[in-house]
Subunit: 240 residues, 2 copies
């Protein structure tokens, strides 16, 4: 079985040491070396380090203050949710379809986001996602335990690992940090132009971030747009 | 998502309440109503009943003293192991192949066995199995947590639940109890005939049980064989 260093598993605000330990164990079982933790509950993380067979993953785990930081070097961000969040207009599919049609063909680093045990991923977390995916489960009991959700998701990625590899898309997609820079510059330009007004500014920015993400920018195009927006901002700020 | 009353999940000697609870939750998430426990650690079972979202499954769970009792009404018994146990000569395949080629097409009740956290399934447990299956994992870290193994296995069974159903095999396979009766009668006949000798009797019986299981008897054939063996035994015992 091959390892998957290009896929980073990101736990957002995990609270239960048993779940952190179980998630780390699944990474170790299925060959995913890189665990990232966004703002984890400190005591939980220390306790999790004693979990069976996951020491190496947990010792190497990286901590981040925000989701944006945790996914900055990834060019595809997939969120796990039990259902579609229509208000965000992010595409939502069953796990096996997203893995086969989006994650496997993707040419670049991928982040897979899992929300906290209690609340799942927030709308703000999801605004960093290109796509959301769900593990099919009964309508009467949708919510899957965090450690089990991580295990099932990683299993779906590796289940055909002996099969011939899927051809990667030749275009080099933009990293999340590059896309974010475009989004931030657009937001600044919009605010400076008086397009956004309090109290809707925050939701306008979230929506804008989604619009930019949906563009599916290549790395080169993101750099090009950022340069253009910087120029526009300079112009606005230097108006007489 | 449909429910799967024909598939019984059997935990053999589970010890950790968290794992029993996690397994029950996976049954509930994925629509498997029937949990069976062989000789569970009593305290663990009581503690597990407080697990989140699995109360209905745990309350309805049935307890058995032996694996034989737990699988008696099933006509296919699949064991979960991390690798092949060559000495037992039971077919071993990756999870997804067994699910697609053996479990889905099977026409009758199926038991899926999971061993204890510490030891997995024993050779004696495995002697009740028609087939064993393994979740692919890294050679360096083979052993998957019980709760996660149950979740991944049940997920594999339901992952294409919206797909058209697979045609069932029209033959009605023998129930495990019917097969066991044939095995027991054959063992008795062998012992009465002086074929088995101490101290190898026990391993000879295990092997015999496997041979019988591999026959893939139909229900009618098992009844027929049992009648024949009873007649043979009567003959042996009533020799002058």
């Amino acid at each position: 079985m091959s390892t998957h260093p290009d896929i980073r598993v990101v736990l957002v605000e995990p609270r239960n040491p048993l779940n952190i330990g179980a998630a780390a164990r699944a990474l170790s079982n299925f060959g995913f070396p890189e665990l990232r933790l966004v703002n984890p509950y400190r005591v939980a993380l220390e306790e999790a380090k004693s979990a069976v067979g996951a020491e190496a993953i947990l010792t190497a785990a990286k901590e981040f203050a925000t989701v944006a930081d945790a996914v900055a070097d990834c060019s595809l961000v997939a969120g796990t949710t039990s259902g579609s969040r229509r208000e965000l207009a992010i595409p939502h599919e069953r796990l096996e379809r997203v893995v086969a049609e989006t994650i496997h063909p993707h040419n670049g680093p991928v982040a897979i986001l899992f929300g906290s045990e209690k609340f799942g991923l927030s709308n703000d977390d999801l605004s960093h996602c290109h796509i959301t995916m769900g593990i099919p489960s009964r309508v009467e009991h949708r919510s899957i335990n965090l450690g089990q959700a991580v295990a099932v998701t990683l299993y779906e990625i590796i289940r055909l690992d002996t099969a011939p590899s899927i051809a990667k898309d030749p275009k080099k997609p933009a990293l999340a940090a590059e896309v974010d820079r475009v989004g931030t510059l657009m937001a600044e330009a919009s605010m400076e132009s008086g397009l956004f007004h309090e109290p809707t500014t925050e939701s306008s920015i979230l929506k804008l971030r989604q619009v930019v993400r949906r563009m599916g920018l290549t790395s080169a195009d993101a750099l090009y747009l950022a340069g253009m927006l910087r120029q526009i901002l300079w112009k606005i700020r230097n108006l007489p």
